[in-house]
């Protein structure tokens, strides 16, 4: 039996969203681990790039940020952010993009900017970054959500999803077929209905129930008739993830807990 962490099952399942030969735009963290895992297993010919202009990287450890070139021994094409967004994203060449979620509503509209009122906020998140354009123009946007929230209405639309649902997105002029496709939460995976574009639960990770998921969603969440049980990661996948990014396996909380003693040691060692 494979023993795995919450992050590892998300990484392993998210990796399956990438097909061999895909052009994939990814940021640091769980998405990059998914990309690297896909490249190491079923999609050796996928091209991984970041919006910083590092194209076809082959990361041997997790990136600190999207412009971290110390994670890879060279890459095939060095361009800049304008090149990525215009000649790659806007031309429709991105097959898959992964994005993190702060808040998301039932039609996949996403907030990564601010919780609460824009001026009288509860919290400022990292900001829109590259998300609106990736979300808007990639063939398939895959969202990963740990700590993110489902809400009736997002406090700020950083990245428009299906707007009010149905054909609203097409009417607004987004490329046909674009928009969020899959959301990975900590308990399962969500897809969007073909016609209404409303999000629904499509699969559960082992050990979780529909009721648990519904408790996190403030509306009557729809559930697929043929709800899947998502496979746990294989031993090979778990080993690869831990080899590449043990901190991803650990999750943020444990990562902080494990790294603080080292930092304190260094400080006290020198001050002694």
């Amino acid at each position: 039996m494979v023993r795995y962490t919450e992050a590892e099952i998300i990484v392993a399942n998210a990796a399956r969203e990438i097909e061999d030969g895909d052009i994939v735009v990814i940021g640091q963290g769980i998405p990059m681990a998914a990309g690297v895992l896909a490249k190491a297993t079923h999609a050796p010919n996928c091209v991984i790039l970041t919006e910083a202009g590092m194209v076809d990287i082959d990361p041997f450890r997790n990136l600190l940020h999207i412009a971290d070139p110390t994670c890879t021994r060279g890459y095939a094409y060095s361009c800049d952010m304008v090149d990525v967004f215009t000649t790659i994203v806007n031309r429709g060449l991105v097959d898959v993009t992964f994005l993190g979620v702060g808040q998301i509503d039932r039609y996949g509209n996403m907030n990564s900017t601010v919780f609460g009122d824009y001026d009288d906020f509860r919290m400022r998140m990292m900001g829109a970054g590259g998300a609106p354009e990736f979300f808007g123009y990639a063939r398939k946007a895959v969202l990963t959500m740990r700590g993110g929230k489902f809400v009736e209405k997002v406090d700020y639309v950083s990245s428009p999803g299906y707007l009010e649902g149905y054909d609203a997105r097409d009417k607004a002029g987004f490329p046909p077929g674009s928009g969020p496709k899959v959301v990975y939460g900590t308990k399962g995976v969500f897809h969007f209905e073909a016609e209404s574009k409303e999000i629904y639960l499509n699969g559960l990770f082992p050990g979780h129930s529909i009721e648990e998921v519904r408790a996190e969603v403030p509306w009557e969440l729809k559930v697929a008739d043929d709800l899947q049980e998502l496979p746990p990661p294989t031993q090979e996948e778990v080993d690869l993830i831990r080899e590449f990014a043990p901190e991803i396996s650990a999750g943020r909380k444990l990562q902080v807990e494990l790294s603080i003693p080292r930092i304190l040691n260094i400080l006290s060692e020198r001050q002694a």
Binding site: A52, G53, L64, A128, P132, I263
Partner: protein, 352 residues
């Protein structure tokens, strides 16, 4: 008129560069985003207590926190700023916004950079991907209200196209691997926003790990990210991007960054950081000495890059000149005397 910077030797200290070329109330763009953050120059801006800057922040990790702690920033045009802390911890940026010390205008990565691209190209505006129209990035405007996004009709298709206006910051600061003394600056690694941020700006201050001979640049012009005539100052500053990373030189310093993060979780801690690492040192050399005293050089040495040399691009050619060593023209197969004779007879000389 955009000023050309033609001095042959622009070498100076960070202090002099900031004294001369960064003023209170300027708009400033940090021309390396995430990668190779120009901390040496930014710390000098903080030490000289520049005030009321409008900062274009494409994406950053902790440099913006420091500029805000230094009370340098009044307006922020931003796409992304890293956050590790959860909701319970108030970040430096949140504190400044709540107190009304800093105003903010949110863009996306591409739309922010497109403003600088338009500015660099001398265009009044540039189209951006129109999906931004449906976002609050477009709808929510603050101090850029009325100037944030526009919509034009394509004269060829009639399609409605979203545009951003060109922006020209007063000054760009950046850190690169190497430059010559006239300011040809060479950067490799994540090129991200650097070219457009520099070329949009009126003044460009370059710091570099090494000042190199002109011939180094001339044999590798594909690495030059901004040409000398756009650069007003060149500062040699080893470890000038620490604690961020620079290919060929050093990795990011996670331990130092964690320390910074833990300190800036409180206002007092943040000020203590500034007192110790910014105000408490005179310059980058003292900063490095302080690092060595505090943590030991061992930790700095652990960050040093191993070498992975780019295969040189051969910029050679036959270098054949119009006249060979025997004074014979390759194209005419005649001596210089024979050529001058032909010119005399058939060249249509005009007496002047």
């Amino acid at each position: 008129m955009l000023r050309k910077w033609m001095e042959k030797d622009k070498r100076m200290s960070a202090r002099e560069a900031v004294e001369r070329f960064v003023g209170d109330g300027d708009s400033m763009v940090i021309a390396n985003c995430l990668y190779s953050t120009p901390y040496a120059l930014l710390h000098e801006v903080m030490r000289q207590r520049r005030r009321d800057l409008t900062v274009f922040q494409q994406g950053g990790i902790d440099e913006l926190d420091q500029l805000i702690l230094g009370k340098c920033v009044s307006k922020l045009i931003i796409a992304y700023n890293f956050r590790i802390a959860g909701e319970r911890i108030e970040t430096v940026l949140e504190r400044a916004l709540r107190r009304g010390e800093v105003e903010i205008e949110d863009y996306s990565n591409y739309t922010l950079l497109a403003m600088l691209q338009a500015g660099a190209m001398g265009y009044p505006f540039l189209p951006v991907m129109s999906g931004i129209r449906e976002s609050d990035v477009c709808r929510v405007e603050r101090f850029c209200a009325g100037q944030k996004f526009g919509e034009v009709e394509c004269p060829f298709t009639g399609e409605k196209v979203m545009v951003v206006g060109g922006r020209n910051p007063d000054v760009a600061v950046l850190h690169v691997q190497r430059a010559d003394m006239s300011g040809n600056a060479q950067l490799w690694g994540a090129l991200i926003n650097t070219k457009w941020a520099c070329l949009a700006s009126d003044r460009v201050i370059v710091s570099c790990e090494q000042i190199v001979e002109e011939d180094v640049v001339r044999s590798s012009p594909h690495l030059t990210i901004v040409p000398s005539f756009r650069v007003c100052a060149v500062v040699e500053e080893p470890w000038g991007a620490h604690p961020s990373e620079l290919l060929g030189f050093y990795d990011y310093d996670m331990v130092y960054r964690s320390l910074l993060f833990m300190q800036t979780m409180s206002e007092e801690g943040g000020q203590a950081f500034m007192d110790e690492w910014v105000y408490g040192v005179e310059n980058r050399q003292e900063y490095l000495q302080h690092y060595a005293d505090r943590f030991g050089l061992k930790y700095l040495n652990e960050l040093k890059a191993r070498s992975y040399l780019s295969v040189p691009a051969d910029y050679g050619a036959s270098w054949r000149r119009a006249w060979d060593d025997d004074d014979v023209s390759f194209n005419f197969q005649m001596t210089r005397d024979e050529f001058l004779q032909a010119l005399e007879e058939k060249g249509g000389f005009v007496d002047g």
